[in-house]
Amino acid sequence: MTTISESAAPDIVRQPSNLTLFFRYLRRNKGLAIGVLILVALTLFTVIGLFVVNPKHAYPLSAALKQPPSLKYPFGTDFFGRNLLVAMVIGMWQTALIGLLAGGIGTAIGVLLGFTSAYFGGWIDATIRTVCQILTPIPVLLIQVVVAGSLDKRDVTILTMSVIVAMLAWMGPTLVVRAQVMTMKERQFVSVAKLSGVSDMGIIFKEILPNLLPFIAASFVGQVFGAVFASFYLAVLGLGPLREPLLGNLIWAAQNQGAFFNGWWWWPLIPSFAMILILGALALVNMGLDELANPRVRRTE
């Protein structure tokens, strides 16, 4: 026979803090860890850089021309006299801006539409869903190239590039959010909330949205990845805002001036390497978050 202890307070089970859980997860999901690490490093580089450097040096005629990397110019200078270190700092900042802006717009539209579609159902749902499905097979990057190519050069700025890039990117998040909200709509906690008299808006914000956050986060990162990739692509074709030191612009200019052949290898290689880091990190984080959002895919410890 078991004797029931007379002591009043049961043992308190200490839960590990959220942060600890996060780090433990990172240890398992190495891809996500590496991705986050790289992104943090790049962000530090950019943020510290922005405080330290003179932004004017990212533009032509501000430094000695065509200098290879040295103590004075750690990343060298290009044909036009940009200090490449400064250009990288400013360029990465601008790339991040485009990514966040376009990613934000795309995700916001996606959440809004997906939500509306799933929550209200009926013909609204049918319309939004059909429109998304119809637009999906269209080669979006090509359309973006056509749009960017049609614009007056002076209209192509960081802002307009973000808009162009976000223009046809919202279909994915819309469908994802819609699918998730649809499953949640039927779940018990929503019915319970309805029964206890919580208003529609209340349900949305207090019950559904918090559960959607992992998916929204994953979508957002995916959108940022897509936006950075698209803006890089447009810039490499020479369709970006040419004066700005966007990484894609630097590579395009380098190709134009025959950088490799002329022996200025640092000019296209350094932005290329940075681009590889950025896109690779984003891809890893993207995949990691996908795993996070879809627990079945999570590897066991």
């Binding site: 080669p139 749009v147 290329s272 890893l284």
Partner: protein, 332 residues
């Protein structure tokens, strides 16, 4: 496969093409640029063409191309033409027709893309499946890792690096063009080998960056399936590892991959635009690039619609093929 489903799919196909056509029609026209004027400007600047009254010239060409009518009229005419697959004349390459421009460039792209997509799909899928299969030996699963690391590299950077290291420095492979100067395309071995030699670097630029993607998506699917009941059941039944791999695992994971494949075609074509430019391959990507730079919109429409048509058609075909792969859908 009932009639209603078929009809729905066909309607979907039509809508996709219509949407793409409309978007691509209005965008270049919203700009104030005039392709004919720019072409004559180019001629004037480079070719000693000195038209005294360029206005009259442009007006007569505008009339010929129907560009002087109101926008909506042009739109209906345009839709009508598309249904008859008549894209008219190229503005800058007059009197070459758009269909001709596409016909001239397409062969050079198709070979490259087919080889590239199929190879990366096959390699990536197999590697991905293997790397997620716990029964496979560790070294086999490790092969996929370098490819995953390369996923972040856009084909254009891959191309630049390949050209620089292999083309310039090592000089192992030719640096550009679809085939060597002086050869005439023909169905013979000499030409074929020369052609293949010139496709290696471009194909590698496209493949190396995309294999990783397939690996991961396949692995993702694989992991999902591993947890499925029927796999457990098959294991308990004592089926050999290879049988399970092939009959249960691969076939089920394949489905979403196949859809992804059709959509990926769109991405690959877009990558081709830059890769072709890098290697001087005269395919569809280059034709589109040149057309955009000259704002030659008949050619732009022609190419974008053509590509959308191809993708939508492929998806349509795949939708009919699905039931063959997955009995669950067949019976529903």
């Amino acid at each position: 496969m009932n009639f209603r489903v078929i009809a729905k799919r066909l309607l979907f196909f039509v809508l996709v093409v219509w949407a793409a056509s409309t978007i691509v029609f209005f965008v270049p026209r919203l700009s104030t640029r005039n392709a004919i004027r720019e072409r004559f400007g180019e001629l004037a600047r480079t070719g000693g063409f000195s038209p005294g009254d360029i206005e009259k010239l442009i007006a007569s060409m505008n009339q010929q191309f129907g560009l002087d009518k109101p926008l909506l009229d042009q739109y209906w005419q345009y839709l009508n033409n598309i249904i008859h697959l008549d894209f008219g004349y190229s503005l800058s390459k007059y009197p070459t027709t758009v269909t001709e421009v596409i016909a001239q460039s397409l062969p050079w792209t198709i070979g490259l893309l087919v080889v590239t997509t199929v190879l990366s799909f096959v390699i990536g899928t197999i590697l991905g499946a293997i790397s997620a299969w716990p029964k496979a030996p560790a070294w086999l699963r490790g092969i996929a890792t370098p490819f995953i690391l390369l996923t972040g590299v856009p084909p254009v950077i891959m191309g630049i690096l390949l050209v620089f290291f292999i083309g310039f420095r090592l000089q192992w492979l030719p640096l550009g063009g679809a085939y060597s100067p002086g050869l005439v395309p023909g169905w013979n071995w000499t030409f074929f080998f020369d052609l293949m030699q010139h496709q290696i670097l471009p194909a590698l630029s496209l493949i190396l960056g995309s294999v990783g993607g397939w690996v991961l998506s396949m692995r993702g699917m694989g992991v999902t399936i591993q947890g499925e009941d029927y796999v457990n059941y098959a294991e308990h039944k004592g089926l050999s590892g290879l049988t399970i791999f092939r009959d249960y695992y691969l076939r089920n994971a394949l489905l979403p991959q196949v859809t992804g494949f059709a959509l990926a075609l769109g991405t690959v074509v877009t990558s081709a635009v830059v890769v072709e430019g890098l290697f001087g391959l005269p395919g569809i990507g280059t034709a589109l690039n040149l057309a955009i730079r000259a704002n030659d919109f008949p050619v732009i429409y022609g190419i974008v619609i053509f590509i959308t048509l191809a993708i939508a058609l492929l998806m349509l075909i795949l939708e009919f093929v699905y039931p063959l792969l997955d009995p669950r859908i067949r019976d529903s």
